[in-house]
């Protein structure tokens, strides 16, 4: 007998009242009970909107025009209310910080039961049970500030599982997590799926990270339509990902570079299932053929040096513990490490927001201790992660001009300099535009422009690519590379492993306030000790090398990086 779908979209379209065009067109999709589905697509493809339709935020919180029908467990969602749907579908939102409603873990897990008027004794009992399932029972009294990103996510998960929902919906579960925690999250989701047989829907654009565990079907969205609905093996070997602007798994890219035509019967959907016999020979040949670039022998001039810098907020717990490293002029480096390792504090100390307890910072050999925040801003600019935290004017021009106006620069000169910077940043056509009309990536560029206008020699970017899909990621990184070519030294605080691999030859790794490595990205991405202490994970290239039997895995990764650089340079010409 054929199964009855648990979710069924029939010719479904949705248009937000605030939008001129429908966000979803003609969706036809069936999801069967117990399936594990991944929905991928670039930003703006409508994948989040699809999720909102399933969990009832549409049409109950976000209003709009619906055509066609959507049934969840045979109920037409429009005729229900969000409360009925919340008993069928549990949603874990992407920002585990923002969705933490309660003040402690226990309270947050109990939230849905409180709203159901569950008696306090029963509530305690159920909180205990469900928290044990996600391994949080010892932390029931902890506040969100004391939890790691992964623990917050587990709490959110427990919070939707107390209701024994049939469908679990994860909206970009990996967005704010470091690589190791992301990997653990995917494992937890997989465990729950295996143990409970619930229907699982994951919305995410980081395909490779989700494909670490089994997925039944991948739905690919583009411009509000479903463009593919297939198993991972088929998807990865098709050309859909590249066309849709979704990053394909790195090991697949490596296979393609090696001239291997990836096909479905190689089982390329997961690295673990990949048929290595057919690929191993050509891959090794390709690896051998990659030329090593000549060692750069010229002495680089150091621009910034941290010398035994220590810092602590309370005098007890060292946030930075004897941190020393130097940055050369014109370099592009990454500072990596798990949350709380002291990455952001380094930025704060460099910008003078906080003053180190001991140690020194030198800019071109000169100690900057006496320089005020304002003076340091002319040397080191800081771009924050969320552009909304920086933008305070309504017009692009005013926002970029702000730093100069505050320095009482002549209005004539301001106009000229703003024009020039906006040209560099590709924002010239928008000079008179209101910022609210810009896309996220453009806003980000406005914030970078408003820092560049002060002509800093170094800019620090906090998580420049967080939450960006592959296209925006590439756009921003290319832009930063161009600025870097103009001579600006760039320091990026990140745990994006792709960024490290593709754009920063060198990475400084922090753990518990100490520098534990300062070396090539290829080493950081393959060294077990570093990976463990910095909450990273090894790149799939490493695992690929291992599977085909290449002994020097670090060199393999480095060769891949060198090869890719060649590909990028030739594609730009």
């Amino acid at each position: 007998m054929r199964q009855k779908p648990i979710i069924e979209f029939i010719n479904y379209s949705f248009q937000y009242y605030s939008q001129a065009e429908p966000t979803l067109h003609d969706i036809n999709l069936k999801i069967n009970p117990g399936e594990k589905i991944l929905i991928v697509g670039p930003s703006g493809s409508g994948k989040s909107t699809l999720g909102y339709c399933i969990n009832g935020l549409i049409p109950f919180s976000y209003k709009g025009k619906i055509k066609g029908s959507l049934k969840v467990q045979d109920l037409i969602t429009e005729d229900q209310n969000i409360f009925i749907l919340s008993k069928i579908i549990g949603t874990v939102l992407q920002d585990s910080d923002g969705q933490f409603v309660g003040l402690t873990v226990g309270e947050d897990i109990a939230f849905a039961m409180e709203n159901d008027n569950v008696k306090i004794d029963e509530m305690n009992e159920r909180v205990r049970k469900v928290s044990a399932k996600v391994d949080m029972e010892k932390l029931l009294n902890s506040s969100p500030f004391e939890l790691s990103g992964g623990q917050k996510q587990k709490t959110s998960l427990a919070g939707v599982m107390v209701d024994d929902v049939d469908i679990l919906l994860f909206d970009e579960p990996l967005a704010n997590l470091d690589p190791a925690t992301g990997k653990a999250t995917i494992e937890i989701i997989d465990d729950i799926h295996k143990q409970t047989g619930k229907t699982i829907i994951i919305i995410e654009h980081r395909l490779e990270d989700v494909l670490y565990c089994d997925i039944d079907r991948v739905i690919v969205m583009e411009e509000g339509r479903i463009v593919a609905d297939m198993c991972p093996d088929e998807l990865v070997s098709s050309s859909i990902l590249v066309q849709d602007g979704i990053r394909e798994p790195l090991y697949v890219t490596a296979l393609k570079y090696a001239g291997i035509s990836v096909s479905k019967d190689m089982k390329p959907g997961y690295l673990s299932s990949l048929d290595v016999n057919t690929v191993s020979q050509p891959l090794k040949e390709w690896y051998q053929s990659i030329k090593k670039p000549e060692e750069e022998s010229e002495e680089k001039q150091s621009i910034l040096r941290m010398d035994n810098v220590s810092f602590s907020y309370d005098g007890k717990h060292q946030i930075l513990d004897n941190v020393s490293f130097k940055v050369d002029k014109g370099e592009m480096i990454a500072i990596v490490g798990k949350n709380g390792a002291g990455k952001s504090t380094i930025a704060k100390v460099l910008c003078g927001f906080e003053i180190q307890d001991s140690g020194d910072i030198y800019y071109q050999g000169q100690n900057v201790i006496d320089k005020s925040i304002k003076e340091r801003a002319e040397i080191i600019g800081l771009v924050m992660q969320n552009p909304n935290q920086m933008i305070s004017k309504t017009l692009v021009f005013d926002e970029v001009a702000l730093g100069l106006r505050l320095r009482n620069v002549d209005e004539e000169e301001i106009r000229e300099r703003v024009k020039k910077i906006l040209e560099i940043c590709g924002l010239a056509p928008f000079i008179e535009w209101p910022i609210s009309a810009l896309s996220f990536g453009q806003k980000k560029r406005v914030t970078i422009a408003s820092i560049l206008i002060l002509d800093p020699k170094i800019i620090i970017l906090d998580e420049p690519t967080a939450g960006q899909d592959y296209r925006h990621y590439t756009e921003i990184m290319k832009f930063l590379e161009e600025i870097n070519k103009l001579g600006v030294t760039i320091i990026m605080i990140t745990h994006d492993m792709h960024l490290m691999q593709e754009y920063t030859p060198r990475a400084v790794v922090l753990a518990e306030g100490k520098v534990i490595a300062d070396t090539h990205a290829s080493v950081v991405l393959t060294d077990h000790e570093i990976i463990k202490r910095a909450n990273l994970k090894e790149t799939s290239l490493y695992n690929l090398a291992q599977r085909v039997g290449i002994s020097d895995k670090t060199d393999f990764v480095q060769s891949f990086i060198n090869f890719e650089k060649g590909v990028r340079v030739s594609s730009e010409d």
């Binding site: 919340s86 402690t104 008027n117 919070g159 927001f353 801003a377 920086m390 933008i391 305070s392």
Partner: protein
């Protein structure tokens, strides 16, 4: 972590263990007591009591320093203004006149005025510690549970709790934004003129509002998705049942309140204690 202004910190002291509703009731009774009485002996006694409680609840001076400075500025300004507008009010109340110092015109310092203003100063000053204790030792969620227990709509109660709950987050946002804007050259210190400081503060507040709106949208979605507002009532995970010490605390505060009133009625025969007769 830097200690944040106004943020609840979780400790295990007799004060923290009291339920939120107890703390609200005792806070109100003790405040009424000192607000009613102009007897400096009573006020000083209550203030000493407040300081002891502050000690018991393990609140550190560093936590409340900033708040104290603002309170002090307020009290001093208040004292000056009172003197400016009613320099003879003390004389009027106490019915005698002992001049200490001639300043100019009608502005002469009398012992009565000095006594009146000192009393008033302590009166305000003794309420502050209670407020601080209440804010810093009450778990926002538990407080919301208490409020709703008193018959206030749970939606309103929860809104209050969320505000308290997000206060530290918003403060952190404020700090981050302010630092980033300072790096662009914003002067918010005393070096800038008052008007400029006001204008510059706007440059921080605008991004703060936007990032707060983002936060609110997210949290309200999260709450909707988990059934907030489904029924007319809800239960509270954090609700504490009133225990013996809660009743004891309420009785003590009611007693203090009654005693101050009795002192006024039977001993002073007015709200004022008059040492000048």
């Amino acid at each position: 972590m830097k200690i944040k202004l106004f943020s609840y910190n979780r400790l295990d002291t007799p004060i923290h263990r009291l339920s939120g509703i107890t703390k609200l009731i005792t806070f109100l009774f003790l405040t009424f007591a000192v607000m009613f009485s102009y007897d400096i002996r009573v006020i000083i006694a209550v203030m000493i009591f407040a300081l002891i409680l502050l000690r018991v609840s393990k609140i550190k001076f560093s936590q409340i320093k900033v708040m104290m400075i603002y309170v002090l500025i307020f009290l001093v300004t208040n004292a000056i203004i009172t003197f400016f507008f009613a320099p003879e009010y003390g004389v009027e109340i106490y019915g005698t006149r002992h001049e200490i110092l001639k300043i100019f015109g009608r502005y002469n310092l009398t012992r009565e005025q000095l006594f009146y203003q000192t009393t008033k100063f302590f009166k305000y000053a003794s309420v502050i510690p209670f407020g601080i204790i209440f804010l810093l030792t009450t778990d926002p969620s538990e407080f919301a549970a208490s409020l709703s227990g008193m018959g206030i709509s749970y939606k309103v109660s929860y809104a209050v709790a969320l505000t308290l709950r997000y206060f530290p987050d918003i403060q952190r946002d404020y700090q981050d934004i302010s630092q980033a804007q300072q790096a662009r050259g914003l002067e918010i210190s005393k070096k800038a003129s008052l008007l400029n400081r006001f204008k510059n503060a706007l440059l921080i507040i605008v991004p703060l509002i936007f990032s707060t709106i983002e936060r609110i949208e997210l949290i309200s979605n999260a709450m909707d998705l988990r059934g907030f507002g489904k029924f007319k009532t809800r239960t509270w995970y954090k609700k504490k049942k009133l225990k013996k010490q809660d009743y004891l605390a309420i009785i003590v505060s009611v007693l203090i309140f009654i005693i101050t009133i009795l002192i006024s009625v039977f001993i002073n025969k007015s709200r004022f204690y008059n040492p000048f007769i």
